[in-house]
Symmetry: C2
């Protein structure tokens, strides 16, 4: 297996990314290689400083970097020798099996949708996050900020995507899929959510997934109601940021325990892009080496469990 990593993504690149790659090696199979995309001389300098000469690390030299302030679409095309652009072309060509980056989310999405492309039948790819719960069971929340103004047919597909993710990656047998809403009854919610509820009922009847109805926000982190929580990206992003904000507040007050540590992005393994033809993982711009390591391990996990193949089957 060959894991692609954008060495130029995130703050303090390439130091942080290279250090994270070295950390990941300790937990990866000997047959697994990490392919670093970026400034070769700078990458080599970090490897040397870290006294790493592992054969499991390869470098693909690139000369450009897409910055956070660049226009994603334009930069992706114009900076054709950037770590992200080259990485995505290699991914599409099968030279690597997955690609992870803590760089420009916009550019990663351009690469995902324009180079790797959506799986046939999927209207809009999505990004998901696995959130912790008090029981320790993971819950998938999607979309967490990629797509806003999602129509019911798009959200209906997220139910299936989330369900396949929960089965394949979290190994939950018959994941309970719920719609995030402001009440439990079918008649609750705004117009779009109510219409989505009806779509999900139809989807459940045809056996696409196990729809269990609405879930209120207070139950997301209990795992009592659902394993997969479907929502529009506007709402999902607010849920995620709110939880992260409260995690930070707790941390600043010295509150630490297993539940809250589950909201630590460093451990979360990045945000997978779901619905495109190859595994792509987005990391936090502030990623530490530990966060990069977690992201690489999560990407490896996704490849090994054949998530993309299983999504393709589900939408065939």
């Amino acid at each position: 297996m060959r894991l692609g990593l954008d060495a130029m993504g995130g703050d303090f690149a390439p130091e942080v990314a290279v250090k994270g790659a070295i950390m990941a090696l300790a937990e990866l199979d000997k047959g697994c290689r990490i392919v670093l995309y970026g400034d070769e001389a700078r990458i080599r300098a970090v490897l040397e400083a870290e006294q790493c000469n592992s054969e499991q690390i390869e470098i693909v030299a690139t000369t450009e970097v897409i910055e956070m302030y660049d226009h994603p679409v334009r930069a992706f095309q114009q900076k054709s020798d950037s770590s992200i652009t080259v990485g995505f072309h290699h991914l599409a060509e099968g030279l690597i099996d997955g690609f992870a980056s803590a760089g420009s989310t916009g550019a990663i999405m351009v690469g995902s949708t324009q180079v790797v492309r959506s799986i046939e039948g999927i209207i809009r790819p999505t990004i998901a996050t696995v959130v912790p719960t008090i029981t320790g069971a993971p819950v998938v929340l999607l979309d967490v900020g990629l797509n806003v103004d999602c129509k019911p047919d798009v959200l209906e597909q997220y139910a299936l995507i989330g369900s396949v993710f929960a089965k394949s990656v979290l190994e939950i047998e018959n994941p309970r899929v719920a719609l995030l809403n402001i009440g439990e009854e079918a008649t609750k919610g705004d117009l779009n959510t109510r219409a989505t509820y009806e779509h999900l009922q139809v989807g459940a009847e045809t056996g696409r997934y196990n729809f269990v109805g609405n879930i209120e926000a207070s139950h997301i982190f209990t795992s009592r109601v659902a394993d997969v929580v479907v929502c529009d990206g506007f709402v999902g992003n607010i849920v995620l940021k709110l939880a992260e904000g409260l995690y930070e507040i707790n941390k600043s007050m010295g509150v630490t325990n297993t539940f809250w540590e589950g909201l630590n992005y460093e451990m979360a393994g990045g945000i997978p892009v779901l619905g495109v033809n190859a595994p792509v993982t987005i990391g936090h711009g502030k990623s530490t080496p530990l966060a990069i390591k977690s992201m690489l391990l999560a990407t490896e996990h996704t490849i090994r469990l054949k998530l993309v193949e299983r999504l393709r089957e589900a939408f065939r």
Copy 2:
């Protein structure tokens, strides 16, 4: 001042409501009376059991109760001798200065909009909540679940309503008003939020309030960005329920501190209905005596600080 309280609202009525009223008396002015609406014999039994014969408590005997499962509009009209229906008519006639209830939220909204009615110029009344922050400064969040599918002109009014509330009730001089969004830049968000941003810019230019731009959910509880956070009721309700859910999780794990206690609904004083012609407060269905007491004190505070008059002035 005469504070109306629905003695039949909430679980374990009228015991809980009456006990809460007795608790409130200890902190209210001697000139303040609490008017209890409900089953006179049962109310008297509780007062006797609690050995309370205060002249500050009055009873208005009513014979019916609007239940949580009743259809709010129909029940409000058909159960014309219910504690909520009579209470709202008394409020509209000026026999009481404010009304608080832990009963059917739907029926309270019917009374608010059809009997007390909206303040002239306000498109849709709203419900707000005051959330705690790590600095101890309060932040107003609105709408928290009354209105979904809010158009930009409705949300624009919520900015003004929230600003007047923050000035009058929280005594913040020049409240910073922000729009809840998934990014800080003006171009972020879904279609409705982006359109609202433009409305708020115009409102700020004409001096209606101090609009400071977008706020991300991670900053709601820091008070670093805003004193007033405006959002659609769908999103606001999710924020509130999520925070309440995490409060419960923390509590179950033994985490307690001032910040999190601020999310304890028992201390929060209920949810004020804003934009109608008299003070109305909605309590939690699960209200304890302490929660009822907090709600009565919050209602008294609102009356004393002339919130309704100040809202009328703002929309004149």
